[in-house]
Amino acid sequence: MWAYIIRRILATIPVMAIVALFVFSLLYLSPGDPAAVIAGDQATPDDVERIRASLGLDRPYLVRFGAWTWDILRGDLGTSIFTNLPVSTMIQQRIEPTLSLMIVTLILAVTIAIPMGVVAAWKQGTTIDRCVMAFAVLGFSVPVFVVGYVLAYVFALELDWLPVQGYTPISNGFFPWMENLILPAVALGGVYIALIARITRASMLEVLSQDYVRTARAKGAAQPSILFVHALKNAAVPIVTIIGIGFAGLIGGAVVTESVFAIPGLGRLTVDAILRRDYPVIQGVILLFSFAYVLVNLLVDLSYTLFDPRIRY
């Protein structure tokens, strides 16, 4: 097991190196010029050139890539071209809101979706099953921003129960923190509830037709015990896999949700950095996301051993 974990962690190094090379090259080749953005609409071409030179953006590709790689190897993600702040500081400022949003969304999605999927499988073909599946289709079909606007309109503007926008750090208290996250988490969670509920249902249907479930019923086991103890554990591997994939997908969903609810997270930081061509910030955040993605996949793989003792690393 430990050897496997170490192997997997070591395997992230070439993955990260390829991501770094790809991201740097893509940004180098893509159109856009931070010097022109900094100089502003009124700047002359000469001003733009001088700013470009002062930022070192006129240096050759290999020189810039070499300098950036050397800094990364020393643990330095660089400095924002615009704010002059270290990229690591900017990420620190933004990581808590994004993590909070993702965690609350995942908890919400898992606690709602798994029981929904289990019940839908149990009541296959009934009105309950159809309702759950209809909800799932709806969850997939309605864009996050539409759900977000509707929720904000109803619960913030009309009922005045929750704030429209913003984020309160958890250090200011659990309830103020949660107050700002409820609407974004529900908006973002819809699609994941739908996804997890469908996978849970499909996986449970397969397991519920197995002989050992029939045996459990014959032995007089209670229905909740059959569903949640015997069947669910055996149906868990695909569910956990989809939760892991969903976590990665949340990164993309968070960008939209953070925009709608003005949450100062990594998603907004990434979009803003891309729009103004703040290369060090884009590179730093994408490296972080890549690392998080690799890490989540590792954790998902490791979690399989908890649900299926036959899996060994």
Binding site: V37, A39, G40, D41, Q42, F82, F175, A262, P264
Partner: protein, 526 residues
């Protein structure tokens, strides 16, 4: 149930504990600004949001009021000697930086030296300046080669890298490198520890700031009396979210709501909608003069009969004629140099057919042209859409390239012809301050490859600009302005496509706002 604090209330009961001292809510003003504040150096970048930040934390030697009259701000006064070739400016008493240090002439001189490398009017000033020097702690001296009648006007500029006074150590930073400190001498201090670019910018009232003891607050002139302990800029990129936050009172001021949101906000009696500046922004259709097809003056002129400023303006501000001017020349409407010389080409009946005839007469034979423009900035995006429709109706062999702003500003730097990735036409807009006079009027420059993007070569415009700097009085300035407009509407470095007011939305209980731009002195809550 109107209980926004449902959870917070439960929390306070359950988790009562010590809290950090916070200013009372009514002593805090919260605004959603026009853009994210990314750069903190208003000399390094000309971005309007950084200019507004500059006015928060820095002060200028001279201010200018809404009628463009200049008056001392940090200066106590000045003496002009030697037939106008020596000017000595004295600082007023009580000026301090946010770190508690006194503002001295030793701070002012490097600040002005840095400014003179970036600001267009100051660059002109630099060409006639032998030296800017410290006389003593409270006095600086300009030694000029010849009188510069617009010296105080230059020192009082509101936009485009104004002459902000910084501490000596900060002002010694190269003009093309961003400063690393935010210590200013203005009415607000910047909260570095709370700065989160893309989310929040916080300013606190600078307790040691001494406003002028008399006068009326108007633009950057008069006493800058602050009525809030704290000003917060909340960066909300989504217009609907910003509007909702304004309606619920989570924010007090939404600087630039788009037209469709303005309609929504007008229905809320707790919100008022007004022009942030009584003067309009001006919009331009810029040609690339280096390459075909618009290196041909006759083809540029051929477009004129088809230009309907009302069409462009309606796309930017909606169907509200009171918010735009569709008879706009090359200077900001409503300012002293605005005039009607040569405007017959833009007024009167509009005709696409007539324009097509002129295009044929100019020898246009389907040469490719490229219109570039952004999709993510409100006004330039709307202007570009109208421009795209126009060139299609005129029958140009047009390649319309719509991208994000970051890509547009890079592509416009290309001096290549169309077949090598260059461009032919773009549309954008400028703040009212930029077109008040020829000094900072970039699109009006005719200095060829040194000119603003598009690079027109019109020596007569440069001669007139030079003579304007030497104009002895307003009448002389106005005469030059008329001639500049006549030349400009003949040579067409660009075509003016209208002027529009920028609309702002704020809670009804905010009064005494100083108009012009988002300024935070004078304004108070009733």
């Amino acid at each position: 149930m109107k209980r926004r604090n449902l959870l917070a209330g439960a929390a306070s009961a359950a988790l009562a504990g010590p809290a950090l001292a916070q200013p009372a809510r009514n002593r805090v003003l919260t605004m959603v600004p026009q853009a994210n504040l990314t750069s903190l150096d208003p000399i390094w970048t000309t971005a309007n949001i950084t200019r507004n930040h500059g006015h928060m934390i820095y002060d200028t030697l001279y201010g200018v009021n809404g009628s463009f009259q200049v008056s001392p701000q940090m200066a106590a006064g000045h003496v002009v000697e030697d037939d106008g070739k020596t000017v000595i400016i004295t600082l007023r008493d009580g000026l301090k930086f946010h770190d508690g240090e006194r503002v001295r002439a030793q701070d002012v001189v490097p600040s002005l030296t840095r400014w003179m490398r970036r600001n267009p009017m100051a660059q002109k000033l630099a060409t006639v300046t032998d030296a800017v020097e410290v006389v003593d702690d409270k006095r600086i001296r300009f030694r000029l080669k010849k009188p510069f009648p617009l010296l105080f006007q230059a020192l009082a500029q509101v936009s485009n890298s104004p002459a902000f006074i910084m501490p000596e150590r900060v002002a010694q930073t190269d003009a093309f490198t961003q400063v690393r400190e935010t210590i200013g001498s203005g009415p607000f201090a910047f909260k570095t520890d709370e700065f989160n670019s893309g989310s929040r910018v916080v300013y606190t009232r600078f307790a040691d700031y001494v406003p002028l003891s008399s006068g009326t607050p108007s633009l950057t002139a008069g006493p800058k009396v602050v009525n809030f302990d704290r000003v917060e800029w909340n960066i909300i990129t989504d217009a609907a979210t910003s509007a909702a936050a304004l309606q619920t009172g989570e924010i007090d001021w939404y600087e630039q709501p788009p037209p469709e949101i303005q309609q929504l906000l007008r229905r809320n009696r707790n919100v008022k909608i007004e022009a942030i500046d009584p003067l309009p922004l001006t919009a331009v259709l810029r040609f690339n003069h280096l390459h075909a097809p618009f290196n041909d003056k006759k083809l540029r002129q051929a477009l004129l009969p088809a230009i309907s400023q009302a069409d462009f303006m309606a796309a930017v501000v909606g169907d509200e004629p009171q918010n735009y001017d569709a008879q706009c020349g090359i200077f900001t409407p409503g300012t002293p140099l605005a005039n009607d010389a040569g405007m017959s080409v833009l007024n009167g009946p509009r005709s696409v057919d007539r324009a097509k005839e002129l295009m044929r007469a100019a020898g246009y034979t389907n040469q490719p042209m490229r219109l570039i423009g952004p999709t993510d900035i409100l006004a330039p995006s709307a202007l570009t859409q109208v421009g795209a429709d126009l060139v299609r109706r005129l029958g140009f062999n047009a390649d319309i390239v719509l991208t994000d702003w970051g890509t547009t500003v890079q592509r416009r730097t290309s001096r290549e012809p169309v077949d090598k990735g260059g461009w032919s036409m773009l549309l954008t807009s400028f703040s009212s301050f930029d077109f008040v006079n020829p000094a900072a009027h970039f699109p009006l420059r005719g200095n060829g490859t040194d000119a603003w993007f598009g690079w027109p070569n019109v020596p007569r415009l440069e001669e007139l600009r030079d003579s304007w700097f030497d104009a002895p009085n307003l009448a002389a300035e106005q005469a030059i302005a008329r001639e500049m407009q006549t030349v400009a509407l003949d040579e067409l470095p660009y075509i003016p496509v209208g002027a529009y007011k920028s609309i702002t939305a704020l809670r009804s209980n905010l009064v005494d706002r100083v108009s012009g731009l988002a300024l935070f002195w004078g304004i108070r809550r009733t």
